[in-house]
Every structure is written in C-alpha cells, then in structure tokens.
C-alpha cells in the first residue's frame, strides 16, 4: 500500500512525513509532544468512544457470561469443566469441525460468486441496477422466512427437483439438497454472499480507473492487469468482505436450524443448551469458545494479509 511505502521512507528520513502533517492538521497536538506521541494520543482519542461504548454495553454484560462459563450449576466457584468437556468430547469436536467447514466452504463460494459479479457489473449494462437491487433480497428477508423459502424450493417435491426430474429429465430421482452438507453451503451462500458482494462492489467503485488504463497502455493483458493492478488494490475490500461473510456463516442459526437436518453447527447447539436444556453455564462456555476461535481466525487472517514483501501499489 502507498501508505506503508512513504511512511517507512518518512521514518527513514527521521521526519514525520506528510502523513503526520495530515494527522496533525486533523488533530492538532501540543507542540511540546513529539510527533510520535501526538499520533498515539490522537489514535487513542479516535478509538476511545467506540471502545468505551462497547465496554459498557457489551463487555460488561459479557463479564457475567464469562463468570457463568467458569461456574457450574452445582455451585462450583471456579471450574473449567464446561470448557474441557466440550472440547474433549467427540460431539464437541464434531460440531466445531462442521461449523468451520461450512463457514469456510460458504465463504469461498461466496467470494467466487461475488468477485466476478462485481467485476461484470462495472461495465455498464442493462441489468446492472436490477442485479444490484436483487442482491438486497437475501439480506432484507427475515432469515427464518428465507430459510423456509429455501427449504421449500430445494425439497424433493420442490421446483428445482420438478425441473430436473419432470421437465428436463436430467435425473430420475429427486436430488437431495435439503438437509445435506452441499445444501447447507448453498443456502449459506444465498443468505450471506451479498455481504461480501456489496463490500467488494464498494471497493471496486473507489478504484482509480487511471491505474488500470496505465496497465493496459503499457501492454498488459486484461488478466495481467487484473492480477497485478486491480487485485492488490482490492485486497482491503476482499479481506473485509470475506470476514463479514465468514462471521455470518459461523454464527448462522436460522438456516441450519430449519434446513440442516441432523447437522447442527455451533450456534444451534448453543441455543439448544441455553434455552432447552437451560444450562447457561455450558452455553456460556461454548459461546466463549466460539468467539475465541473466530478472533483467532480473524487475527491470523489479518496477519497473513499484512505480510511484509506484499506488493504495494
């Protein structure tokens, strides 16, 4: 990124560089503080409002959940049993594996769908507005209603199988989609790909066409231009879009509840333990595990994305 190149050059020069000038005009700092400290103070000031809000509105309630996760219904003052029983059990591991698999698979497919779609929508064509609008449909329908719609459409007796069996005669028996793993992935993609798609479209929209033009003028094929110019510039949007889709998939509840059959990923299991078994301690522990896994994955993903030696624009 341009940011890192001239920031590092600025650091080498020992001066704060233009970036600091920008920062300082936005957030005037005392002349007595060094540029670095003033940047840190500014940064803290910018981040504080949200953090304070989350601390009060979310982390405080979460504290109660954390306490519940390490105490038990039997009255233990502190125990990690709820964590260990879940993580050590075959059932628990199976649930985690299932959730991870579904989320990765659906995120990948969503990206493969969103990126070409976003690219195709750049060149003006008649259906652009419609397509953009339609992408709103899965995310504005209440998810339980959408899940039931999906269940009906892809059932043995639904429209798709009617088409395959009775109209096209492609297969002789209905294809099972409901309640199967590929089916769940398909449904996740339907529900969640617009999250990634809209972020990528927004990122594409901010690209300076001059850069691509330059690539073409210099003789690069469209594919090379895409790979070496567009894709690197799109990295932040691709990252944000895929994280968003992944989080939605990992936490999906309505779709797997209705159309998952015997496959019950983590959110469904936690809901069952909490509201049917009324074991809030176990549910809290499972929720903490769920959150920590995703944090680890997001942090890892961000680290991978920030590797040094990455091409900068």
């Amino acid at each position: 990124m341009a940011w890192t190149t001239w920031r590092s050059s600025a650091a080498m020069n020992g001066s704060a560089g233009p970036g600091a000038a920008v920062a300082d005009t936005l957030h005037p700092a005392s002349a007595r503080l060094t540029a670095a400290t003033s940047r840190r103070v500014a940064a803290a000031g910018l981040v504080l409002p949200l953090l304070v809000f989350l601390a009060a509105a979310f982390y405080l309630p979460l504290g109660y959940t954390l306490i519940q996760s390490v105490t038990s219904a039997q009255g233990d003052a502190f125990t990690l049993a709820q964590y260990t029983t879940f993580l050590a059990s075959r059932q628990g591991q199976g649930v985690l594996a299932l959730t991870l698999f579904l989320s990765f698979a659906a995120t990948l497919v969503s990206l493969l769908l969103s990126l070409p779609l976003a690219l195709a929508l750049r060149r003006g064509f008649a259906g652009k507005g419609i397509v953009q609008f339609l992408m709103m449909v899965p995310i504005t329908i209440p998810s339980l209603v959408g899940a039931l719609g999906l269940l009906i459409l892809y059932d043995r007796t639904g429209w798709l199988n009617y088409l395959l069996v009775r109209t096209l005669h492609v297969v002789s028996q209905p294809v099972p989609i409901d309640y199967t793993i590929p089916g769940i992935v398909l449904f996740y993609v339907w529900m969640f790909f617009p999250y990634g798609g809209l972020v990528i479209m927004s990122g594409l929209g901010a690209l300076d066409p001059a850069l691509e033009e330059a690539g073409r003028v210099l003789g690069a094929s469209p594919w090379r231009t895409f790979r070496l110019v567009v894709l690197p510039l799109l990295k932040p949007s691709l990252w944000a879009g895929s994280v968003m889709v992944f989080l939605q998939c990992f936490g999906a509840f309505s779709v797997p509840l209705i159309a998952g059959g015997n496959y019950q990923p983590l959110a469904v299991k936690i809901y069952t333990v909490a509201t049917v078994f009324l074991d809030w301690h176990q549910a809290s522990a499972m929720a903490v595990i769920m959150g920590l896994i995703q944090v680890a994955l997001v942090v890892l993903y961000r680290r991978l994305d920030r590797q040094p030696g990455r091409r900068t624009a």
């Binding site: 039931l148 269940l151 309640y179 019950q264 078994f277 009324l278």
Partner: protein, 385 residues
Amino acid sequence: MFTVRSARGLAGALVAGVALATATGAAVPAARAAETVSIVDTVSGPNFQAFWKTYLIPQIKQETGIDVSYTVGQGPALQLQMASWKQDHPPEFSLLFVKGLDLSNMVQAKLPLEPLYPARAKEIPNQSMEPPEFLASNNGVALEGKGLIFWRAQFDLVYNAAFVKNPPKTWREFYDRRKEFAGHIGMIRPDAGSGGGRAFIYSFLTAFGVDFKQPLATLQTTAAWKDAWEKFGDFSHALAQPVASAAPVMFHQFQTEQVWLTVYAQDYSLWSAAQGQLPATTKAAPLDVNIVGASNAWLVVPAVDSPAQKQADDKVINVLLSPAVQLKMLETMYQYPGTSAWKQAPASAWDKIPPVDQAESHGIRMTNLEAITYIQQHGMDHVAQ
C-alpha cells in the same frame, strides 16, 4: 461534484432523521391510564394472535372497559428479562401468557410471580372452574398457584387419512406395524424447543411399561426402562429422516406428504387442516397413552406489578376464564377450554373433536421432570441415524 451534493443530501436526511427520532425516542410513552393491561403472548401462533385481536381484546374492553395492549413475545427471552425485574419498577408487560414448560421453569427459578390460586379467588372468581390437579403442579414442579390455565391441549396421533386408512389404536400396535409406515413417521427432536418429540417419547415409554412416578435414578435400573428404550430404538428406524429439528420442519414434512403420522397437538392440527395449512385429509385420534397438559397455555401475573395494576390484571383474567369466552374459543378455534365451561357446550361443539373427558381419558401428564430432562438430553442418542 455531485458526490459532495449527494453527501449534503444524505447528511440532511440523516439530520432530519435524528431530529425526528430524538423527538419520538426521547419521549417516553405517555403514562397510561391505570386501567390498562399490557399482555405479552408467547404461546399463540398466528391463528390465536388473530383471535386475540379480533375477539378477546374487544370482548375485554366491552366487559370491563380495560384497554389491553397486545404484544407477541418469546418464552426464553421473556424469562431472561424477568430475571432483572424489581419491585417499584413496573415491567413493560403486566400480564404474561406463557407455555406450561416456561411457567414450570419460571417457578423453579423463583422468578417474581404473583400467586393467583387460590390467593386471588375473590378477585378472579372464575378460577373456581379450573381443574385443581392441573393447577397444583406442572411437569412435576409445584406451581404455588402462580398461574391459571387459559386453554388445555393434548397430544394425539395426527395422521393423513389419505395414506393411513387404519391408524393404530395403541402404541404396541404402532410399534408392531412400524415397517408398514417406515420413513413416514414424523417426530420432532426431543432436544428441540417444541415439546412434541418429548411427548412422543414419554408416551411411548409409558406404553411399554415405564412407570414415571418413580424417580429417574430408580427407573434407570428397571428392566422396563431398558426394554422400552430398546424398543424405541427399533421403532426409530421407521422415523422419517431427518428427525425434525423444529416444529416448522415437521409441518413441512407433513405438508409434503413425507410424513403420514405423528404425535402433535390435536387442536392445532385439526384447525390447521381446516385452514389449509395442513392437508385436508388430516385427522387426529388418541392412542392408548397420550399426553395431556403439556401444551396448556397459562396466564401469569408478575409479582412486581403495582397493586392497582394487579387489580386490572385480575379483571382481564376473569373475563378470559368466563364461560362465554371459553366456549367461544372451543367453538371457533377447536381449542379445549381451561375451565370446566366445556361441560356447557352444545352437542355441535363435539362434531369435529372428541369431548374433553373422552380425550383426556387416556391422558397422562408428564410429571417426571428429571425424566423429561433425560429425554431432552439423551433422546437423540437412542434414535437410529
């Protein structure tokens, strides 16, 4: 260029939005007249939601002058909210309409509920028409009189007569004929929110000799327990797969004719068939053991309501338990009244559904809470996958 202009437009709209929202948001809802009852309904499907709005609430207004504000809600969420309720801080809802299992859980969790039976017999005279044995305890939890039953329901064999010409009359017959129905027997998972699957299994086990009056620890050592679960394991090979994870899934399976027989609430099923939500050939019939009381709907008053509010709640409950209202519910919704008002029903009321005493004659109540918990947590382990 127009980016900035559009930004201005956007900003303008947002500012207008803030102003509007702050004006409406900052204004706390105006203090209601004392004679208002705010009810939260965590039981009714859309059929009863319509019944509340089009009949019950106007009826209450007519008879008492009380305005009832009606809101739909969800049991587990309501229970969580109730944990914070304090005296002198009126909650949003002054009258609760909840499912039996939720009430049992609330009482067990010692949430602030007002004893109504018989403590408020004077204010709610119609409660005398309620069956005392139902009010004393539910799911094995002593209720301390903290609820009154609005409607009764029971689980029966619900079947599609187009495919099942001769339904089984007993569980043993059902078990013996299971291959006949293989793949077409619907059940909701016992670990689901809906209790249909638990009722299914509880009645099956009872029919095969499990005596749920004994504590779970004792039961688990008996031969009957082991044998009954083994038979259930056999039986489960005939269940439609996947076993429904939620009630809407089983309904979908029933609607698409994958499922021909299941155990579910009789009233709901028959009424749904009449409305076109289930196949028109849907019928219900009791087996030799069927669960009663599991699907009852209860009226509950928060103890933190002010005394004046409680008096208003009492009046509303009394109207809801009045014979006229109870009979109307029977006749238009196929729903069994919570009170003995059904005895006054005309013969025509029993055209579609069996009289209450007949329906409940085979009925047992799910009183062993430990066993229910066991079925919840381990029922699926016994199901053949």
